[in-house]
């Protein structure tokens, strides 16, 4: 069923669907307005000029944020999408503009982020001729998009954009790229927009097999030591409440993946922590002790599983997942439910028994104590005479913001530390590059998140000195947009995570990991962004308060211990239960 909607945007929604004669470029903007787009991140250029010209007439209805590099635009759109669950929209020109989007597309593909990216393209007559700023972005972006399409005729615009929004943000979300030749932007069409919610080769929400639900409930009800692993699928389907009810009823301990960090209140008595390489000790150890492992809206990524040959071999596996290609991809499921997390939980809740597992909980309590004594206490406690540690800063910010801020990270040691020590409460969010591990993600993603949330939420980004310099030009976007992002730059003068690996696995042969850094305070101030550097414990509290109380963007640079290693750790390819505490 396709729904007919009005031809004119927002303000004249009640008008009849009469076709109107407009340019392709205008049709692009109007199509976006029909999809309730009010924010665009982009960068202007030759082949997309007609679209920017059309944008000029719609300035009141849609806000375009001019970034400093197209990679910044797409990461900002990702931050926007993940903060709101709306589709992020990106504009870029042809050639280098388009290729600069590739990293963000790959990131959004792996982390299931809904995006619609619109790229300009050389005129259709020049396609394939190596024309100026021509690049075959369709072929290049194919493995990094959920769907992509090249428009060479203006008539194709409304339908292609309707499909783009439908595909991007239904089922398992993902990035879509629409490439539009310049002649199609100039040409005139009779414009009618119809939303699309059905394409026969695409099944966004498979019908749940009731037998699978029955089988799943049986496994759950018979389990003596169950462990629930929740992923971003819970957040994407908006199933946090259903998950909460399910856990309260079944009493099953909950662990989360990096991207599932805010699916369940981190301080709940049944929360046992984060999974994976730098996750918590308990859930990793317990993975190889439980008798039922339930994966909910997650994909058993290798950073979660470690060595698959020795992963949860003693347990039955129940996998509840929307994407059928994820089922049995890495871990063989004894029972699989191919469904959206919310739908599956709504069906399952009636079939499962109310239970508690006192003996099983003691196992986690014990591991929690071990981890606390050996790692956590040391990480978050101030030790006079020593440098500040990342964990201390993040832990304190978590307390000061009551776990209610939206936390955006870059990639590396600080990312793991943020995931471990920022205690997400419901409604907060951890926005981080999980699957692709994109350094340079943090700053632009935080800008996108702040633009989306405005005064509603504090947006704090933790960034290392390495990743910060990969997209540092986006300080210009902060200056221009006024987005009040709080930047916590955890500076150890190293590419810390790589240094840690060189320390542990390459005989401390530090190769290309020490950074010669600029004066970050001057850099920030040159963009008109207030900044302060802290290196002593006694200044930390004051610095954090100054940053949090600032109404504008603020950069707090904290000089942290140079050679701190993040523990616990499951070395790459090792067994999860062999997690190292030191």
């Amino acid at each position: 069923m396709e729904t007919q909607v009005q031809t004119t945007p927002t303000k004249e929604k009640n008008s009849s669907p009469q076709p109107m004669k407009i340019t392709g470029a205008d049709a692009v903007i109007r199509s976006l307005l029909h999809e309730d787009v009010d924010t665009i991140f982009g960068y202007v250029g030759g082949a997309i000029m007609p679209i920017y010209d059309a944008l000029f007439d719609h300035k009141e209805n849609v806000k375009h944020h001019m970034v400093r590099h197209e990679q910044g635009a797409i990461h900002a759109a990702q931050g926007y999408a993940r903060a709101t669950r709306k589709t992020g929209v990106v504009f870029a020109t042809s050639g280098p503009g388009a290729t600069n989007l590739i990293t963000g597309l790959a990131d959004a593909m792996l982390d299931s982020t809904p995006l619609v990216c619109i790229t300009g393209q050389v005129p259709s007559a020049l396609l394939g001729t190596d024309a100026f700023q021509e690049t075959d972005i369709l072929s290049m972006s194919m493995p990094a998009t959920k769907w992509n399409f090249q428009i060479t005729r203006a008539e194709e615009i409304p339908e292609a954009l309707a499909k783009a929004f439908y595909f991007a943000n239904s089922g398992r979300p993902g990035p879509v790229l629409i490439d539009i030749t310049k002649d199609a932007q100039f040409a005139e069409i009779d414009y009618v927009y119809e939303k699309i919610n059905k394409v026969r080769s695409y099944i966004p929400y498979p019908k749940i097999n009731s037998q699978d639900i029955a089988d799943a409930a049986k496994l759950i009800n018979e389990a003596k030591q169950p462990l629930l692993l929740v992923g971003q699928g819970v957040i994407l389907s908006g199933a946090e409440k259903e998950l909460y009810k399910f856990v309260e009823k079944t009493g099953i301990p909950v662990a989360w993946t990096l991207l599932g960090s805010s699916a369940f209140p981190n301080q709940h008595e049944l929360s046992v922590g984060m999974l994976g390489m730098h996750g918590n000790y308990g859930p990793n150890k317990a993975t190889n002790e439980c008798d039922l492992l339930i994966g909910l809206g997650m994909r058993f990524d290798d950073r979660v599983t470690g060595n698959l040959q020795t992963y949860a071999k003693q347990a039955k596996v129940l996998h509840i997942e929307l994407d059928p290609a994820e089922i049995n991809k890495n871990v063989k499921a004894d029972v699989a439910v191919n469904a959206d997390a919310k739908q599956a939980l709504m069906d399952l809740i009636h079939e499962v028994e109310e239970k508690r597992y006192p003996e099983w909980y003691k196992v986690f309590d014990n591991y929690k104590k071990i981890e606390h004594d050996k790692v956590i206490e040391n990480d978050v406690t101030t030790r006079p005479g020593h440098q500040i540690k990342m964990g201390e800063v993040i832990h304190r910010i978590s307390e000061l913001t009551k776990g209610e801020a939206v936390v955006v990270t870059d990639v590396g040691q600080h990312q793991m530390s943020a995931a471990r020590y920022y205690m997400n409460e419901p409604g907060s969010n951890l926005i981080t590059s999980g699957g692709l591990g994109t350094m340079g993600f943090g700053l632009p993603a935080a800008i996108g998140a702040k633009i989306a949330l405005g005064d509603k939420k504090e947006v704090i980004t933790f960034i290392g000195d390495g990743g910060f310099q990969m997209t540092v030009q986006e300080l210009g976007t902060i200056m221009e947009s006024g987005a009040a992002v709080k930047i916590v730059l955890l500076n150890n003068g190293y590419l810390g995570m790589v240094r840690q690996w060189q320390d542990l696995f390459f005989e401390k042969r530090y190769s290309m990991v020490e950074l010669t850094n600029p004066d970050f305070i001057k850099l920030s101030e040159s963009y008109g962004i207030k900044a302060r550097q802290i290196s002593a414990h006694e200044d930390l509290e004051d610095g954090l308060n100054e940053m949090l109380q600032s109404k504008e963007a603020f950069l707090l640079e904290v000089i942290v211990e140079k050679e701190e290693n993040v523990f616990p750790m499951v070395p790459a390819g090792a067994t999860v239960s062999e997690m190292r505490l030191e």
Partner: protein, 183 residues
């Protein structure tokens, strides 16, 4: 253990679908041994037939990742015993090869091959069959000087009787928006 699998992939007739399919093999470093595409019995639905050598676990994952692509309607993998398949080969040999006795003529007869065209300088022979059969004919003709040889991709029919139209009907229903959790 790697085995030979024949994949049948049904798609919409859209530019770029082949690229989407081949990237799935490229990223896993799987070589495509044979590839054929044509319109199926249903107008507008295209059928790809591919031959690959992979493990049973791998073929299951690859088929799911192909079917996940928007524009792909259905994808199946088959083992040898589940299909009837055929290839076609053409051989260009010098006409003078026929001049010396009846050897070539006998080879053609024994292998149920056909002569497509006779020119003063060359003759084009056609043979349909399995790869081993068309390869065997190539081996026998080689001593007479094969000027050109070409073999098509495999085409295959499945033995089960379920019709493509009933799969399409199922898709129609499954892709329709129902009481789903669409945000």
């Amino acid at each position: 253990m790697e085995k030979e699998y024949t994949l049948s992939i049904f798609t919409e007739n859209k530019i770029g679908i082949l690229h989407r399919i081949t990237t799935i093999f490229t990223r896993r470093k799987i070589n495509i041994e044979s590839l054929n595409t044509s319109e199926s019995e249903v107008r507008g639905v295209y059928r790809y037939t591919l031959v690959i050598r992979v493990t049973p676990e791998m073929v299951e994952k690859v088929v799911k990742q192909i079917e996940k692509q928007i524009g792909v309607l259905k994808a199946f993998s088959h083992e040898e015993h589940e299909i009837v398949h055929q290839e076609i080969a053409l051989y260009k040999v010098p006409t003078q090869a026929f001049a010396n006795g009846t050897n070539v003529e006998m080879i053609i007869r024994n292998h149920s091959a056909h002569i497509l065209t006779v020119e003063p300088q060359y003759i084009v022979i056609e043979k349909t069959g399995h790869k081993e059969e068309t390869q065997e004919l190539f081996r026998l003709l080689e001593p007479f000087g094969v000027l050109q040889f070409v073999r098509s991709g495999r085409v295959a029919m499945t033995k089960p009787m379920k019709k493509l139209t009933s799969y399409l009907q199922e898709l129609e229903e499954a892709s329709s928006p129902g009481e789903q959790t669409i945000q």
